[in-house]
């Protein structure tokens, strides 16, 4: 909330907040127009999810997961993935529980866990590489350190893959380590997979729910906003076993009851279009990913040329950058804030370029570890990246 206000200024090149400035595919907009023209679709639909949408979701994910998914009992449609996270946490987490959160994390996990009365337990991804170029795969969990975080109070672990902000795509082996601990300690897994379609060459998105012993203890969360570049539609979903989803449905019926109808109908139609071509490279799930990969590469190059050190993401549409190499002296600025907060504010003011400081994504103990990084979002149209290029190319020409 803090940074979206600052970057609302149109003279600033906004690579901060995670939203596309590219247009959603035209068929998605057309389906919405078609839906809005049907009288019945402007009134309430089924509370737990519009029938045609949950049907489409079950088909797409049955294919991906290789298991039967009941559209009425195994799926809940929510107001964005955000709403799914909230419903899951309110349904299954309470006072006395501990929830493991991997740092850096999407910032809402911590306040949501606290709002449910539970204790967040943090474990950081640690950078393990001495080489020059770094990529998100270099950031790993220490298995022993992770095992130590599990105890009898641990109710759940929140997994985010591909990860925001680093862009790490957890490998099968890494997921197996987490799964083993979940099974051993009878812990739930809340798997935030909103960027599931955005994985780049050489990487594969694996659903932890498909690992042995995991389906029955995992809630997998997805997002229309990220899948179809329509963040403003605020539609998401939770998929899991009936005995868990039923509790999310109870939360839902006591919080907002039902999600908007025309948007759900349009989304269902868009999913049918892409479901039919899931074997085709033209499927939007894959074509968007290809488009983003070239933007990722361009962004990385521009940053490197300006003397910054980007961490090349294997997935997602964010890139974190080590800014310490620039040695911008901000010691005269308000000391109480972490370095990256000060850097971003300075960069917005003096370079007219915005990003998000990485310490926004950390628990209190690790802020020092991450304060030399800032996060850029690259799901931006060419003209935005062109404007960013101008700023980055001229960076060294201006003195700090």
């Amino acid at each position: 909330v803090e940074f979206t206000k600052v970057a609302a200024d149109p003279s600033i090149v906004n690579l901060g907040q995670g939203l596309p400035d590219i247009s959603p595919p035209s068929y998605v907009k057309e389906e919405l127009a078609k839906a809005a023209a049907v009288d019945r679709l402007n009134q309430y639909t089924r509370g737990f999810g519009h029938p045609s949408l949950v049907k489409a979701l079950s088909q797409v994910y049955e294919r991906v997961c290789g298991r039967k998914i009941d559209p009425l009992t195994d799926i809940l449609v929510t107001v964005g993935a955000y709403g799914s996270l909230f419903s899951t946490i309110q349904a299954l987490i309470e006072e006395g529980d501990e929830v493991i959160i991997i740092e850096p994390f999407y910032d809402c996990y911590e306040p949501m866990v606290k709002m449910a009365g539970a204790k967040p337990v943090f474990i950081p991804l640690r950078y393990k590489n001495d080489g020059n170029s770094t990529c998100s795969a270099d950031w790993v969990l220490d298995p022993a350190e992770l095992a130590n975080k599990f105890n009898s109070k641990t109710k759940a672990i929140i997994l985010n893959t591909p990860n925001n902000p680093i862009g790490k795509v957890f490998t099968r082996e890494e997921l197996q380590v987490i799964a083993d601990l979940c099974i051993k300690h009878d812990v739930l897994c809340i798997s935030d997979e909103v960027y599931e379609w955005m994985v780049y060459k050489g990487n594969k998105h694996i659903k932890i729910a498909t690992l042995p012993g995991m389906w029955e203890r995992t809630i997998t969360i997805g997002s229309a906003g990220k899948t179809y570049s329509v963040t403003g539609w605020k539609l998401g979903w939770s998929i899991g076993p009936q005995n868990l989803i039923k509790h999310l449905q109870v939360v839902h019926q006591n919080t907002l009851y039902t999600c908007p109808t025309p948007l759900q109908e349009a989304l269902a139609q868009a999913f049918w279009i892409d479901f039919k071509r899931m074997d085709d490279p033209d499927c939007y799930f894959y074509s968007l990913s290809r488009e983003l990969e070239s933007k990722r590469d361009r962004m990385a190059q521009l940053l490197q040329e300006a003397g910054l050190k980007p961490v090349i993401p294997d997935g997602g549409y964010f890139m974190i950058v080590d800014v310490s190499t620039l040695n911008v002296d901000l010691s005269d600025v308000d000391e109480k804030q972490p370095y990256d907060y000060k850097f971003v504010k300075w960069m917005i003011r003096s370079k007219k370029l915005s990003a998000i400081p990485l310490s926004a994504f950390c628990g209190p103990e690790t802020k020092k570890q991450f304060e030399k990084y800032i996060r850029f979002c690259f799901i931006k149209k060419d003209s935005t990246l062109d404007a960013a290029e101008v700023i980055l190319k001229n960076w060294n020409k201006q003195t700090a």
Binding site: V1, T4, L19, P20, S23, P24, K29, L32, A33, A36, A37, D39, R40, L41, N42, Q43, Y44, T45, R46, G47, V79, G80, Y82, G83, F86, Q90, A91, L92, I93, E94, C108, M112, M115, A116, N151, S152, K184, H185, D186, L188, S229, V230, T231, G232, W233, K234, L235, N243, V250, V251, Q253, N254, T255, L256, Y257, T258, C259, P260, P262, L263
Partner: protein, 442 residues
């Protein structure tokens, strides 16, 4: 030895975990929901659905056009996130529109917050203001979520009934005849009372609280320093020249009231799920806190369209073309039609002063559905289920709007929604007429 003790420790902790339910305690007692059940029944059996409260006519053309303009226009950024607490054009026009009605300068950024329907606005209020140890006064009959939302927040619901007064001879009962007993109401306020929920016009009865009745409530709120959650979603649907009075406009009330409104009810677009809250910043700041940790953003396009709808209504306010004048006029006719229809077959309607609901006494039809003495289920619920399955006519039992122990008090009433096309109301009439004939013929 170390390994074995570790195994024992793990085994014990797993055993303890397995004996605890997986779900959080806050879900206790709120898992049943009347709508899930009755919506399914209507979807399966009904030929004529006068049950769930939504219009079967479309939203007005100007609103649908605004929606299409927003989604297909040059500004494709309307498909992306907007301001979390409300799309700027919408909060601005809401502040302007309602500021005028309240006679107050409203700041769109701090006195207004947009929500996913009025339902989510209610949720934010309960989560923001109610916790364990708090009591919430709820007037019966009530929209059912007030009770479960109070419980989910850890609060204790305290019920006070509207009591019916027999109408004058030969006249039909009116929702006006259902009143609060002032002494009874006053007795419900104590040190634990945190809030009272007011719903005017009231769902399901259609009662429009008078100025005197609102003053009664307001005096008690001020005296006991109690908040008022004012659900005014049916604010435009008032009939017979009655006036909808906003309790927040009474002395001492603005500062302790959250007003809740709904685009779904205002513009006949329940599927858009756009609602709002209005009130002083000292209260709205807490709603914003809950909102940003639960839903964060509301969908953009519908907000843009609703903003344009309100802009139009602001310019046409009080004029004949205003949707806020035309809709209640149309609905009043439908109300009168359904009242006549029900009266003709022997179901006794309570004529509503507002909303698009009316409640009818089905005692004359009881013979078709025999009483089951030891049944857990209230009679009217069994009646409504039998009616939808056997007659194809869907309605909602009044007991749905009462707390557990009170469900059997008024168990021979059902609620009809009359926000329906003429054809629908005619079809309902045909079913009722046929049913009556079947009863009178041997």
């Amino acid at each position: 030895p170390i390994a074995t003790s570790e195994i024992f420790k793990l085994a014990f902790s797993l055993q303890a975990k397995m004996s605890r339910p997986v779900q959080a305690q806050r879900l206790e007692g709120i898992d049943k929901n009347i709508w899930v059940e009755f919506v399914k029944l209507a979807a399966t059996y009904s030929k004529v659905n006068l049950g769930q409260g939504f219009p079967d006519f479309p939203p007005p053309d100007f609103l649908k056009e605004a929606f299409v303009r927003a989604l297909s226009g040059e500004n494709h950024m309307l498909h992306q996130y907007t301001r979390a607490f409300g799309h700027p054009p919408l909060v601005k026009i809401l502040a302007q529109f309602f500021g005028k009605l309240l006679g107050r300068d409203l700041d769109p950024m701090t006195n207004v917050m947009v929500t996913v329907g009025a339902y989510q606005a209610l949720f934010c209020c309960f989560q923001a203001f109610i916790e364990e140890g708090d009591e919430v006064i709820i007037i019966e009959p009530f929209f059912d979520c007030y009770e479960s939302m109070t419980k989910m927040a850890g609060g204790t619901p305290v019920f006070v009934p509207l009591r019916p007064k027999a109408p004058k001879d030969g006249k039909l009962m009116s929702s006006e005849d259902w009143k609060l007993d002032p002494a009874e109401l006053a007795s419900k306020f104590n040190e634990q009372t945190k809030a009272i929920v007011l719903n005017s016009p009231n769902n399901p009865l259609g009662k429009v609280f008078s100025r005197r009745e609102l003053e009664l409530i307001a005096d008690l709120c001020v005296k006991h320093d109690v908040l008022c959650i004012s659900d005014e979603v049916y604010e435009w649907l008032v009939y017979d020249g009655k006036e909808h009075i906003r309790i927040a406009s009474l002395p001492g009330m603005w500062d302790r009231t959250v007003i809740i409104g709904s685009a779904g009810k205002t513009f006949s677009a329940t599927g858009w799920k756009v609602g709002w809250t209005m009130g002083p910043n000292r209260l709205l700041q807490h709603l914003r806190n809950v909102h940003q940790n639960s839903v964060y953003h509301c969908a953009t396009i519908a907000q843009e369209a609703v903003a344009q709808g309100f802009q139009r209504e602001f310019e046409l306010y009080g004029k004949a073309d205003s949707y806020f004048i035309q809709l209640p006029k149309e609905l009043q006719q439908k109300r009168d039609w359904l009242v006549q229809s029900l009266d003709a077959v022997g179901m006794k309607p309570i004529v509503p002063e507002g909303t698009y609901f009316l409640v009818a006494d089905i005692s004359k039809f009881k013979s078709d559905i025999p009483d089951v003495p030891d049944s857990d289920e209230p009679y009217d619920s069994r009646f409504a289920k039998w009616m939808v399955k056997n007659k194809g006519l869907a309605a909602i039992p009044l007991s749905a709007f009462y707390s557990g122990p009170h469900k059997s008090i008024y168990n021979h009433f059902i609620r009809f929604c009359f926000a329906k096309e003429e054809a629908t109301l005619k079809a309902a009439n045909d079913i009722l007429q046929k049913w009556k004939q079947e009863k009178t013929s041997p």
